[in-house]
């Protein structure tokens, strides 16, 4: 039993029925040595790598609040060309970091070794109280921030510290994204009430947006599971083989919407491009370059989409049926993978008045297909794909027409590579040699 082994072992050893009535005997008592070791381990955990993300964000906050990096911050804000509120950005990033770190937080604050405690007659509130001291230790930089803001109001500092700890504990304990978001909002809502600064409202708005996405996600799932308006549903008019395969992928993607999570980087990039193009700070070749870079941010979305298809189809990804030709399946996989990115690329193309985001979306999808068809185990690394993406992304100094021509050449080469790799994989499948996830 890792971590709190000694401490927990003693507690588990006490029979449930006996414990409330019997005094702590020598056999079942928590020895001072065990407590010391446990405290030391938890102290290490509180600043350990598992919660590094949260700690880092809090240290950034501390630095910003102390005015220690004012010049750096001003330079970064100026380079963004969007004139944002620095505090709003900082607090938004902290909320995002807290949410992103919910899994390592849960591992640190509610490790598997403690899960058995939930079966004890302690109850969830007692469990939370048990964890609270460690959580307070974990969020010490927040207390420092509060102290810097309100050095003469100890009650506010204490209440704020408690709110941050409670929110962090809530995030760590939440299995659902929405619940975690609500808990992450708690410190900022408290700060809104106490500090009355508009910057604190931004994380609350982000949380509100997260909660709003819930019915949106349900709507997306309904659409994915229902009959397609473009390719026909379960019944009705005759469907083409391509339509059938797309319907199959649509149904597969509808089983879980986790693949939509990497949607936020290109979406945030799109909003940023809207701002900088709108305020006139991005002119000339800048919009086209920004559009290509933001479309490239959709790489994660394409990887997640194809990964979700891999997960659901399993061994039958490339050959869902033996009568399906390789080219037909490649076409359907390509369309299914690129579709989530197309609306963003289209919007970027319209805003930047350049076709480059569209060609870039196709390039990104082909590159991901090429990597994943070759060796699925290497898909998360994406090294080869990123290498290929460098070509169109790193040529902003070329005239737009030349860039477009270069992108088309890259697209053609990638298409050839993907087709060859898929044919090789199909041959390997037919001979029983392919042991990857495509079989």
């Amino acid at each position: 039993m890792p971590g709190t082994a000694g401490f927990l072992h003693e507690i588990h050893a006490v029979p449930d029925i006996v414990r409330p009535f019997c005094p702590v005997s020598a056999a079942y008592s928590v020895s001072p040595t065990a407590v010391t070791i446990t405290a030391a381990r938890w102290s290490v955990r509180a600043i350990g790598p598992r919660v590094g993300l949260l700690l880092l964000s809090q240290l950034v906050t501390l630095t910003l609040a102390g005015g220690l990096a004012q010049r750096v911050l001003e330079a970064i804000v100026a380079s963004l060309r969007a004139s944002p509120d620095a505090r709003a950005i900082a607090f938004g990033l902290i909320a995002l970091a807290t949410l992103s770190g919910s899994v390592p937080l849960r591992r640190a604050l509610c490790p598997a070794s403690l899960a058995a405690l939930r079966r004890q007659p302690l109850g969830d509130p007692s469990f939370a109280w048990l964890r609270l001291p460690w959580t307070l230790m974990l969020v010490w930089p927040s207390a420092m921030v509060l102290w810097l803001g309100h050095p003469d109001r100890p009650l506010v500092v204490a209440a704020g510290w408690f709110a941050v700890a409670a929110g962090t504990l809530g995030v760590a304990s939440s299995a659902r994204w929405r619940t975690a978001a609500a808990w992450a909002a708690l410190p900022f809502v408290a700060a809104c009430l106490v500090d009355r600064h508009g910057a604190f409202a931004w994380p609350a708005i982000a949380v509100f947006a997260t909660i709003v996405t819930w019915p949106l996600a349900r709507a997306v799932r309904t659409v994915l599971e229902g009959p397609s308006p473009f390719f026909g549903g379960d019944t009705g008019r005759a469907r083409t083989p391509l339509g059938v395969l797309l319907g199959l992928d649509r149904a597969a993607l509808g089983t879980s919407l986790h693949w939509l999570r990497p949607l936020w980087p290109p979406l945030a990039g799109l909003l940023y491009v809207v701002v900088v193009v709108g305020n006139g700070n991005c002119r000339g070749d800048c919009p086209a370059t920004a559009g290509v870079i933001v479309t490239t941010l959709g790489l994660g979305l394409v990887v997640a989409t194809l990964g979700a298809l891999h997960q659901v189809h399993g061994t039958r990804l490339l050959v869902p049926d033996r009568i399906v030709s390789t080219r037909l399946r490649l076409a359907s996989l390509f369309v299914a993978s690129v579709t989530p990115l197309v609306p963003i690329a289209l919007a970027l193309a319209l805003i930047t008045r350049s076709p480059l985001p569209l060609t870039q979306a196709l390039t990104v999808t082909l590159a991901v297909l090429w990597v994943q068809l070759g060796d699925p185990a290497r898909a998360p690394a994406l090294g080869p794909a990123l290498y290929l993406l460098v070509v169109p992304v790193a040529i902003p100094w070329l005239p737009p027409a030349t860039r477009l021509a270069a992108s088309v050449v890259v697209l053609l080469v990638l298409t050839l590579l993907v087709e060859r790799r898929a044919a090789t994989a199909r041959r390997a499948l037919a001979t029983g040699a392919f042991r990857g996830r495509c079989r």
Binding site: V244, G254, I323, T431
Partner: protein, 203 residues
């Protein structure tokens, strides 16, 4: 040799595994049993005949066409592997209609048989029992009315009523279809021919 399903010197070998050899066949309409001990390669050889695996050597012809190289010729073969390979996330009806559309045979003839087998078409395959999945797999092999049926353990996991029904249905195909099946238990059908799959390790 003449017949709807003709094979010559067909063998298959997984990389690093044993080789499986199939006796030469020239099958016309009728009920044919592929026999052999556990691990002798019966299921693998059915997959080879269906075009799912490419034979290491030998030739296969279905109505004069090569299902190994000609993907379209595989429409002539209905294959019911065991366990089935239908997608878990679809309903049985959706899986069958998808297969029909892929074979460009949108008209369905399996509703009556599904009713007789008491198979709910709106049941998601992930929630289907082993017997229901077996029935769905058999119906999937019949999609598009292929002249050649390759059935791997068609009676496995079926209840008594379904065994009787499937047996009667296969009997009705005796004069019109080539039905090649494997079975481990007692065969409830009088077969026209029995072929033994041979395992030939080390070749």
């Amino acid at each position: 040799m003449s017949g709807v399903l003709v094979t010559e010197g067909v063998a298959f070998r997984y990389p690093g595994g044993p080789a499986f050899a199939l006796p030469d066949l020239a099958l016309g309409p009728g009920l044919h049993r592929l026999g052999g001990a556990n691990g002798s390669g019966k299921s693998t050889l059915l997959r080879v005949l269906a075009g799912d695996l490419a034979p290491t050597r030998g030739t296969i012809r279905v109505a004069g066409r090569d299902p190994v190289r000609d993907v379209a010729a595989r429409v002539l073969i209905g294959h019911a592997p065991y366990p089935d390979d239908l997608p878990d996330f679809l309903t049985i009806g959706r899986a069958l209609s998808d297969l029909a559309a892929l074979r460009r045979r949108p008209e369905r003839h399996d509703e009556a048989l599904a009713d007789a087998l008491a198979l709910p078409l709106d049941l998601r395959l992930a929630r289907a029992s082993a017997g229901q999945r077996r029935k769905a797999g058999l119906l999937a092999a019949l999609v598009g009315e292929p002249p050649v049926l390759l059935l791997d353990e068609p009676w496995t996991a079926l209840d008594a009523a379904a065994i009787v029904l499937v047996t009667a249905y296969l009997e009705s195909l005796r004069t019109t279809h080539v039905v090649l099946f494997t079975t481990h238990g007692d065969c409830p059908l009088a077969v026209d021919s029995t072929h033994v799959a041979q395992a030939a390790s080390g070749r």
